[in-house]
Symmetry: C2
Subunit: 159 residues, 2 copies
């Protein structure tokens, strides 16, 4: 089980956009349902999240300070997950994620379900600031919402 633990400790270089149109070839992209809920969200930006992606269940700790982020994720056993999941009642969200390769980058398109149905968001992570600056949003992207709290997953789950 330990082999599936993951720790990230880095500066965050990513941009987030609303999605105006779904690209025609979306259905050909790899996709999966994500269900997630928050055990605790401590202001300003410290959280413990439970997530279910297919058969994989995990617990993730995240904290951000300025643009630095620390992320620690462990895979849970189904029984560990089942014991904790009820603690996220009323603080959950569900979305379908599509992964779309785009030049050397990966665009993650999240189509929200449930009470946020209608919201579609695309996120792109960059290997460095140069590629971040160079990035030209494809025609189907809408307004950029990088850093807008109202579109953060934790805010959407809790509101």
């Amino acid at each position: 089980m330990g082999g599936n633990n993951r720790t990230r400790h880095n500066r965050e270089i990513e941009r987030k956009f609303l999605v105006k149109w779904l690209p025609d070839d979306l259905k050909r992209s790899r996709s999966f349902v994500i269900e997630q809920g928050y055990l605790a969200a401590e202001p300003p930006s410290r959280q413990v999240r439970l997530r279910k992606t297919g058969r994989t269940v995990s617990l993730t700790f995240k904290v951000r300070r300025d643009r630095h982020r620390e992320e620690r994720e462990i895979k849970l056993s189904p029984k560990q997950f089942a014991a904790l999941w009820p603690g996220t009642a009323g603080r959950r969200l569900r979305k379908v994620r599509y992964e779309i390769p785009c030049e050397r980058l990966l665009i993650e398109v999240d189509i929200y379900r449930g009470r946020h149905a209608g919201l579609v968001v695309a996120e792109v992570e960059f290997p460095n600031t140069a590629s971040c600056r160079r990035f030209e949003p494809p025609w189907w992207f809408g307004r950029e919402v990088t850093g807008e709290k109202r579109y953060s997953n934790v805010r959407l789950a809790l509101q």
Copy 2:
């Protein structure tokens, strides 16, 4: 591993006291070192705690609403614990707990170490309100601090 998960869902009937004198027979009581840290503490009273007691490591989710509390605990593998523990840096506390049977009750005496050294607290949990009312603090108990936030573990760990 699932067999060690524990869920509590109950009204909370417990009282907490400062300890004036350590009882002479303390050293004969069962005792163990507890090290704990908080991944997140969401106001007013939602928290995710990591705890190490001897060789046992666990993650506990707690939430209180009025006098009702929900508590969900899972045992972690050493590797899961090692992956998450650094996330509690600067938000930890260490104490030695002594368990002292007293009539049909159990008194838990916590002797804090580290920057809270000098603080000694006793906690008693009751099976019902009648026994709670009937309880007569032993001579070595000091002031009652039930419900005082400044003596909560999460507050002590974070301050």
